[in-house]
């Protein structure tokens, strides 16, 4: 990330005026005519479409496999072709069994995941939004240092932090509690960076100064003027921190011993590992159905909020 300001040629992207209105109306950016080719609009190419179709198949086949196999009983899993339905249609039975197996432990894991996402990703989004806004719109002492420290920290590998964080938390008595998963999730350097670049473009400084001249407090200026303009950026950061927290595996693996506090990812892995243990019951149909249930909320969120996060990402990641 350090590179961006220097590697993206400045003149090309600092024509903020044409982009500013587009930030607020994402659709304005992609006219149906295929922007940029008004002189000689390229013809659609079947060859290219077929080629891209192969990559599309690659992306979707595993998901199709998951959906199809979630509808099979454990017995027909083993004696049928993987990419077609076979045997009794057991999707509903599988879902019921997934939710009730072992006294409904899957529901408990789902609840834990939702808790970690609400507090962890929610908190991470809030911190990134106000922090990014502060960096974009205020001049203050130590700003360069903030930037350098945060960017430098991004390159530090997860384990360099995980082991000492575990030891620190265990001294503080936090391990094996929800806090040990939530607190480290609160920081998203990527989110901070995205909000920073987004706030720079989306909020005209003149508007802030006008509000200040009118005597509005900083808090009121932020909530009344800036927050509404930051909408797509907030949705983007919220979605990406949500994915990071929902999908988190390494951190809870280290922090949690008690299966009652497991998120879905750890739980599914425990179910899968169960087949390999002596005397453990193989429940591959439940692992597959549970996996399907785990990814559905995120897939739905990405599909439904497409408009917002794509424009938010476009504004932020161009520089990011």
């Amino acid at each position: 990330m350090t590179t961006t300001p220097r590697t993206v040629p400045t003149p090309r992207r600092t024509a903020p005026s044409p982009f500013r209105p587009a930030l607020r109306r994402p659709s304005a950016r992609r006219p149906a005519a295929g922007r940029g080719h008004s002189v000689d609009r390229p013809r659609r190419s079947p060859t290219l479409t077929v080629l891209m179709g192969l990559i599309l198949v690659y992306s979707l086949v595993p998901l199709a496999w998951l959906l199809i196999n979630a509808s099979k009983t454990q017995a027909s899993l083993f004696d049928s072709f993987g990419l077609w339905f076979s045997g009794p249609f057991a999707l509903w039975d599988n879902i019921v069994e997934t939710l009730t197996y072992d006294d409904g432990v899957f529901v408990r894991w789902l609840g834990n995941t939702v808790l970690y996402v609400l507090l962890g990703a929610g908190g991470a989004t809030a911190l990134a939004v106000i922090g990014g806004y502060g960096l974009a719109k205020f001049a203050f002492r130590g700003k360069r240092a903030v930037f350098a420290i945060v960017i430098g920290a991004v390159a530090v590998p997860g384990t360099a932090l995980a082991v000492p964080t575990f030891l620190m938390f265990s001294r503080m008595g936090l391990t094996n509690t929800p806090w040990s998963v939530i607190i480290p999730s609160l920081i998203s350097p990527f989110g901070l960076y995205l909000m920073w670049t987004f706030a720079q473009e989306a909020i005209p400084t003149e508007m802030l100064e006008a509000a200040r001249v009118d005597g509005a407090s900083e808090l009121r200026t932020f909530t009344r003027i800036s927050l509404p303009l930051l909408g797509p950026g907030i949705v983007t950061v919220a979605l990406f921190t949500m994915v990071a927290t929902w999908n988190n595996y390494f951190l809870p693996l280290i922090m949690l011993r008690d299966p009652d506090w497991y998120p879905l990812t750890l739980g599914l892995n425990a179910w899968n590992a169960q087949a390999a243990t002596v005397g453990g019951e193989a429940i591959f149909n439940l692992v597959i159905t549970g996996s399907l249930l785990t990814i559905l909320p995120l897939v739905a969120a990405f599909l439904l909020l497409q408009r917002y996060w794509q424009s938010g990402l476009a504004a932020g990641s161009v520089k990011g």
């Binding site: 080719h37 001049a139 000492p164 599914l268």
Partner: protein
């Protein structure tokens, strides 16, 4: 960096600098406080840990740089062979998987941006979707599909009466993992490239077309240079990701216990050292060395990406 990234300070701001100097901290403070707790404190703590060793008698003793010597070796010795074999493995992963993944992502982004594709928004969202799938689920899915019992590999073997190479064998398991990681992140990188392509001003294409430039010429002379920043950033993220490789091998261990050792990647090694071996001090040392190597390589890529621009 800040100077280029932040809008040039306006006169009004400068005049009020004295008053404004603390205001920014009201907004940035909360982030930095938590950041200090979960980023800076652990880094400091792991540096502290790496300078000590737990003795059977007498508890923790200060040993200076002894732990680092165990990694790098004293003159005449090779250091820790397990660490270096793990590092070699992720380095191989890096030079093979990252170019393939970024190459596919770049081609898809160009194709979707070029307007020559039928149904491009369907392509964009579908190819991106795997990013929303947790690494655990992605690895389990692919792991099952790789398998010869109820996976696709088994289906093909039975249907054609052939015997395919075992994707969990020591020789192939790294490629199997590379495929999973590629599947997970092609869409994400594609979206970063695509977002950068969208910002190229229309006039550039129009001018190029008037000058008679073909599609490939436009790609080479306008599009690629314009998104170099995005490419460098994606490369750096992928380098960091490769060096941190943990989830996929750790989950596949259940399916391929013989191929994936406890020191398969540096991250897995550091994890095993502390949670199976209780060697916290040495584990912290390994993690720090790995962090420094990652930062050095990311920095080198960044310098190279910048130099080419000039």
């Amino acid at each position: 960096m800040t100077a280029a990234a932040v809008a040039p300070p306006r006169v009004t701001l400068r005049r009020r600098r004295g008053r404004s100097s603390w205001r920014g901290w009201v907004f940035v403070g909360p982030f930095m406080a938590v950041f200090g707790l979960v980023f800076l404190a652990p880094i400091a703590y792991s540096i502290y840990l790496s300078l000590f060793r737990k003795q059977l008698v007498g508890g923790n003793t200060f040993v200076g740089l002894d732990n680092y010597l165990r990694v790098f070796g004293t003159p005449g010795t090779v250091g820790d062979p397990q660490f270096w074999s793990a590092l070699g493995r992720v380095a191989l992963f890096l030079v093979v998987q990252v170019p393939i993944m970024l190459g596919i992502a770049l081609i898809v982004a160009m194709a979707i941006d070029g307007g020559r594709l039928y149904g491009k928004s369907f392509f964009r969202i579908s190819i991106f979707l795997p990013y929303a799938v947790p690494a655990v689920v992605a690895t389990l899915m692919w792991g099952f599909m790789y398998g010869s019992r109820f996976g696709l590999v088994g289906n093909i073997e039975r249907a054609f009466g052939v015997s395919l190479p075992d994707l969990f064998s020591p020789g192939l398991v790294l490629a199997s993992i590379g495929n999973i990681v590629t599947w997970e992140y092609v869409g994400y990188n594609m979206l970063i490239f695509y977002s950068a392509l969208r910002v190229i001003p229309t006039e550039l294409y129009e001018a190029a077309e008037i000058d008679g430039a073909g599609q490939f010429r436009i790609i080479r002379s306008i599009k690629l240079p314009a998104i170099r920043g995005a490419v460098v950033v994606a490369t750096i993220f992928s380098i960091i990701g490769s060096f941190q490789l943990f989830n996929e091998p750790s989950i596949l261990q259940n399916l391929a216990p013989n191929a994936i050792t406890t020191y398969f990647t540096p991250n897995l090694y550091a994890y095993s050292l502390s949670f199976s071996g209780q060697q916290y001090n040495y584990s912290a040392t390994v993690a720090i060395v790995m962090g420094l190597i990652t930062m050095a390589i990311a920095y080198a890529v960044q310098l190279r990406g910048m130099r080419r621009e000039g």
